[in-house]
Symmetry: C2
Subunit: 190 residues, 2 copies
């Protein structure tokens, strides 16, 4: 998606060889007018797909998932929680997601009341790196007995192998901008 | 907002005398089609106001803030972060928000790059209890030298005094559904 690549080049910040910060429109500040077009593009990429629910993970995935829902037929959006609030008393599905960037492991949790067997689920995430977050979301859908329609990522760091890992498992993956390399403050796309 | 009250009664869950769970449309699963009408209602409540930015806090505030932005003239949405990711290397504004329900104190942080002196800011939150989260957000706007246009909450637990605390400080507060009492699994509105 050319407009997204231009936005990343204009407003993103490359740090070292692994990190791209897009705080100005996706990860801290949200440019809703722009993200609507991201949502529309996801619809195009999954055009013929029937979707019952969109699954994402807090926090940055929420905006994109909601704006995408507007271009599908308003499937309910479920976001996995990374922490277990004291109000989460019911049973939940759980999967571990390792963050290589942060060197941590998060537990993703989704209440069993919110995902059901047979539901067709589209997974949406803001950033795909090693694919661990998306993989954890697929685990949760599988625990619920749902069907994974595909995985959409706004930005993918292609050199970290996330989409390959997910495609090897048979999933359709659509990344709207794939970064091939980050070096000397430059971002190079596929 | 009558439709919201009915939604809370139909899909919400009252626990004890202090907690209402609205995981089915606001706090874990997001009913985007419904939340659009929440966004539209916020526009009505702040009809004549010029807004440069909407400020909220992760995670549940994000959906509502984004959908509200669509009914204003697409102000940028900034969400305060509750944790400090290792990629947050720049200077930030910071304020403490105590959660009486959880018995914890969160640090809300907003990068100094994203809020500026003179900006007119609408604060949006999903739930208002003792008002501590909204108060922390007003602190952040003040640190930035911005102007607080008002505070919008989807649901307020009126008996916990949040909006009174904020109005005493001179802020315009609009809560779309005010809960007067929770008891025996019943939710009673103002």
């Amino acid at each position: 998606m050319q407009e997204l690549k231009e936005k990343i080049l204009k407003e993103g910040l490359a740090i070292g060889t692994e990190v791209v910060k897009v705080d100005r429109f996706l990860n801290h500040m949200l440019d809703v007018e722009f993200l609507e077009r991201i949502g529309k593009e996801f619809r195009k990429r999954f055009e013929d797909c029937e979707i019952d629910k969109i699954l994402t993970v807090e926090a940055s995935g929420i905006a994109v998932a909601c704006l995408a829902a507007q271009y599908f037929e308003y499937p309910l959006v479920v976001f996995a929680k990374k922490t277990s609030p004291n109000t989460m008393t019911e049973d939940f599905y759980e999967a571990d997601a390792r963050s290589f960037t942060k060197g941590t492991v998060s537990k993703f949790r989704v209440s069993k009341n919110l995902l059901h067997a047979g539901e067709k689920v589209l997974i949406i995430d803001d950033f795909m790196a090693h694919g661990e977050a998306s993989l954890a979301l697929t685990e949760i859908v599988k625990q619920a007995g749902g069907e994974i329609i595909g995985i959409g990522a706004v930005i993918e760091k292609g050199f970290q192998g996330g989409s390959r890992k997910l495609r090897d498992r048979g999933y359709k993956v659509e990344s709207l901008a794939v970064i091939r390399e980050i070096s000397d403050g430059n971002i190079i796309f596929d």
